[in-house]
Symmetry: C2
Subunit: 338 residues, 2 copies
């Protein structure tokens, strides 16, 4: 391994100067700077982060903390896209991204221990189970955090505007003439589930529509199978007075529900209009294609990175603690005028 000592020797200067040169510090003449860079090139020198981190206590490492419950891990299309843009943006600032888990070498550990072990400068929280002790302990530690799924009190968050999105979906259905609107809710243990559900209630109230408990079904996870169960349950509950439209809190669930309804002989959208939430890839290829609410995952990831890095570097944040990214109604073919 080639070190600054090697470069120094080759360039005919001291290691200190090499270090300064590589850190773009002032106080290195152009001539020596050039000599150092040439020497480094020639020798194939690369800074050693571990040594640097040891000396500076800064690792340029950002941890990503995914909770694997409720089918919300890396493999979830929503998060993988957020992660993608987060990672790219972080890279632009010189930060690398590492996964945080509950292990420490050979043994079980806590997320916090893992963060300290790796010495991450900050953490992206993508956990949607709220307020677990595990998460709480990293939130209340020294480590800077930004959350992209759950809005923890007094913590910076970057999340889709679930209320706005829900209202977009519901106003659209209303505009099409629907008044009997059901809601298939995401797990109410998640912020997404809660916010979309309360927006639904708020909407009904604002339109003077009475809440009908038969028009509400809650799911247990963000996955397709839940849609089948939810659709079945909804049909049973509301058999005597079926809704004309359904606002569904998540696309995969909406798609599975749609398939279920059609299997039962309902026509979508003629008999039943459906709106989803998320604009997951699949929603453009179902029959009919799904009208849904798009989340700007790129923006979420980028803003999360910007926020976290500003916090780490002690820069001013001109943004609310609870930053909301606008959503967009994507009209496709799963809704009809009544």
């Amino acid at each position: 391994m080639v070190t600054i000592y090697d470069v120094a020797k080759e360039a005919g200067c001291s290691p200190t100067t090499v270090s300064k040169a590589f850190n773009n510090y002032s106080g290195v003449s152009d001539a020596t700077f050039k000599k150092i860079m040439e020497a480094a090139d020639k020798l194939g020198y690369t800074v050693n982060t571990n040594a640097r981190a040891l000396a500076t206590k800064k690792t340029w490492l950002l941890g990503v903390l995914f909770s694997e419950d409720v089918n919300t891990g890396i493999a979830h299309p929503h998060f993988s896209e957020i992660l993608q843009s987060f990672q790219v943006r972080a890279g632009e600032y010189g930060y690398d991204v590492v996964f945080v888990n509950k292990r420490l070498g050979n043994r079980e550990a806590s997320y916090l221990e893992h963060c300290k072990y790796r010495g991450v400068d900050g953490v992206l929280l993508a956990a949607n189970k709220m307020f677990t002790d595990e998460i709480q302990s990293v939130l209340s530690s020294e480590i800077k955090c930004v959350s992209v799924e759950t809005n923890y009190p007094n913590q910076h968050t970057v999340i889709s505007d679930n209320r706005m999105g829900s209202l977009q979906a519901l106003e659209y259905l209303y505009f099409l003439g629907h008044r009997k609107i059901a809601h298939i809710a995401c797990p109410l243990t998640s912020v997404a589930g809660q916010e979309r559900y309360s927006a639904y209630k708020e909407f009904l109230k604002s339109k003077g529509i009475e809440e009908n408990p038969k028009y509400l079904v809650e799911t247990n996870a963000f996955k397709a199978e839940e849609g089948i169960a939810a659709a079945t349950q909804l049909l049973q509950q509301a058999w005597d007075d079926l809704p004309t439209a359904i606002y569904c809190g998540y696309d995969e669930i909406a798609c599975a529900a749609m398939t279920t309804f059609r299997a039962q002989g309902f026509r979508v959208p003629e008999d039943l209009s459906i709106v989803g939430f998320d604009n997951v890839a699949i929603s453009g290829f179902t029959t009919p294609t799904l009208t849904t609410i798009e989340q700007d995952r790129g923006a979420i990831g980028r803003n999360a990175a910007d926020t976290l890095i500003k916090m780490i570097e002690g820069k001013e944040l001109n943004q609310p603690l609870d930053m909301r990214i606008p959503t967009k109604l994507i009209v496709r073919n799963s809704c009809a005028r009544i």
Copy 2:
């Protein structure tokens, strides 16, 4: 920050002994071991990886190298699932996973530089552009590599058995009576594209069916849009003598093609049978649901982790250089007997 010196003082022993205890080295009495652990607990001590890495030259860090071309980044459902299982398995061995990119602090760099900078113990290659200089330089470096997409000569790879999968798809169509089978190929710059295509040719040959150039369309990326173009092109090319079945190299493309065919008035599967490859989430929710070839992404990720870690730790590998993970035919509703 609490160090081994603090723990040593608290436990009444030397830092060396603390180090030994934390590394599970022999030569620490049960009594002192216990005292050390208690002291560490009390003080909230966590090993500092940077210091450890500096001393041992081992980081317990695995790099993941994704090429962002051809729509094959982290956000691609196929890779995100592989990454998920890779990451979990690596964690079980005490390794953390970090993304490798082309940056180094403030400036552009090469993948290799980035790997050296972070000092990763090994790299997971998920790049599907073959033989770029960039990739080549990390392959020919000291760093241990495993590839999960492209099989580089003399390098360990863990990939789906594309030939077997293709044959499963094609034999199934043949079994249903199809003889005029077209192929919508994945980008032939990718190994997946190439292997699936040559299996297609091999299959035709084995059945004594002559290749018909009109029955072949190549796509340019692993994404849905390509399916629309491919379907359109296939229809134009083969208008006078349409195939009865299509073997499509990738699900999203198959789904989009299916939608296109149906929009043109073709019935699937009555007029046209379609088989995909990948078993991506979406394929279970199209109309009709897509018959496809399942890749065992969990197994790919796990085996890749196992392989890489064995290489790093100098353990024996009882496996071929080019490890193939079996695929499975998933029969759904997009194929009909002729």
